[in-house]
């Protein structure tokens, strides 16, 4: 082995990390080469001294460290409780902001019906309004012309009744906030003019007294290419509910609507 080949192995030799075959080769070379031998010896001495030195370089563990670790433990134990508390508060706030709650109060409404009044009465029914409607969300288009409940009755009204339980599943906000819904710019909403309504179905009470009826109408606006469906229900429990939802018309339908 030459000096050049031996040189980069000297640290490993000094650390006694070489395998046997290499160790023998390096040691043989060191016997013959005083320069490399001196260098290897120096490295071995430095390593030995460094290892001896470490004992002088460490103070004892500070007494306060254990206390500080204990304090941090208390904090980390408290953290899950804080997390649970925050989640509970957030859930409660979210539940409240959900805005749709079923009222147990029966809201009396007047029998009189007419233009515009049905909508007004619907606003008095707490469960039929979402918080978004209440706060006059700027992204919502203006209300469609109110549907007069004086529409002509079908020749033979069906005696279907809306189950009272349905009231508990009535979430108008779902209609407004469907995932595929596209919110129109406010400027476009303002110039929306609604076409005359198309009555899809209307059911009138078969008795004179308070009885359920349900009206479903649809309308569209060629300007904003919106189609609106509106459903009004007068329920057995004397409450009046209004649901409506807007959708953007598909391009093909919008074209035909414009031509018409």
């Amino acid at each position: 082995m030459k000096c050049h080949g031996c040189h980069h192995l000297l640290v490993a030799w000094a650390e006694e990390e070489l395998d046997e075959a290499l160790w023998i080769q390096v040691t043989d070379h060191l016997r013959q080469c005083p320069s490399c031998h001196r260098e290897a010896e120096a490295l071995a001495q430095i390593i030995r001294r460094l290892r001896d030195l470490k004992a002088d370089l460490a103070p004892p563990v500070p007494a306060c460290l254990s206390d500080r670790i204990g304090q941090r433990r208390v904090k980390s134990l408290a953290r899950p409780f804080v997390f649970v508390g925050v989640v509970a508060i957030a859930f409660a706030m979210g539940w409240k902001a959900r805005g749709v709650s079923v009222t147990t109060e029966t809201v009396p409404i007047a029998r009189k019906t007419g233009e515009g009044k049905a909508v007004q009465r619907a606003q008095q029914v707490p469960y039929a309004r979402s918080r978004m409607v209440q706060k006059k969300n700027p992204y919502l288009p203006p209300r469609p012309p109110s549907v007069a409940p004086t529409l002509k009755a079908p020749a033979k009204p069906r005696a279907s009744r809306v189950a009272p339980r349905r009231a508990r599943h009535f979430f108008p906000s779902r209609l407004v906030k469907e995932p595929e819904e596209e919110v129109l710019p406010a400027a476009l909403i303002q110039i929306t003019e609604w076409e005359p309504v198309l009555v899809i179905s209307a059911e009138r009470p078969d008795t004179e007294g308070v009885a359920p009826y349900r009206i479903e109408v649809s309308t569209f606006s060629p300007v904003s290419q919106l189609s609106r469906t509106l459903v009004k229900e007068w329920r057995e429990d004397g409450t009046l509910a209004t649901e409506w939802s807007d959708r953007l018309l598909p391009a093909s339908l919008a074209e035909s609507a414009n031509q018409r």
Partner: protein
């Protein structure tokens, strides 16, 4: 009790087990901090490293040894602290060209002086050579573990350590005119 058992107990919240780990690794952690930030902040850095380790212990998955993980934390904290020091006030450099006086050389016969001077030579090394040297000879890590702590390859760790030793040896020869073992240079 083995290191793994202690770590598992500490992960379950056993502070005594963690105290045992502190006792086991305090010296080495302190020395690593000392080699990076110097004596003034070494204790703070080592304490912070243990507190950080205690806080993050639940995330330690025993994929490496506890020591390697702890040294990595210590190294990061120390490097941050050193940068902070550098921003606040210029680092007090160890004087590169200081040579011992005649009196020093006479006194060098004592073992204590040799250690003191050797320590000074270690402190004079640049950080990228000093830290692997300290991890190797003061913290007894393998080169693979040093690579893990510093985020470099094993061969790089090996090369830097060898370079550090070589520089100490050369410097010693320059200053005292003889190799570390005491023989006169040719």
């Amino acid at each position: 009790m083995t290191e793994e058992e202690l770590v598992r107990r500490a992960q379950k919240g056993d502070q005594k087990a963690f105290d045992a780990l502190v006792g086991r690794y305090w010296d080495k952690t302190y020395r690593l901090a000392l080699s990076i930030v110097g004596p003034s902040d070494a204790e703070d850095v080592a304490s912070s490293a243990f507190l950080q380790a205690w806080k993050s212990l639940s995330r330690f998955g025993l994929r490496s040894s506890f020591a390697t993980w702890l040294y990595r934390i210590t190294f990061n904290i120390a490097v941050r602290q050193k940068r902070k020091q550098a921003r606040e006030e210029p680092m007090e450099e160890v004087e590169e060209g200081t040579e011992p006086s005649l009196w020093d050389i006479e006194e060098m016969a004592s073992d204590r002086e040799i250690k003191r001077l050797l320590h000074r030579l270690v402190q004079q090394l640049p950080e990228e050579l000093r830290v692997p040297l300290v991890l190797r000879f003061w913290n007894d890590l393998s080169y693979e573990e040093i690579g893990q702590v510093l985020g470099v390859r094993e061969s790089t760790a090996r090369m830097r350590t060898a370079e550090a030793l070589q520089r100490i040896s050369d410097r010693w020869s320059q200053v005292f005119g003889e190799t570390f073992g005491g023989r006169q240079r040719e």
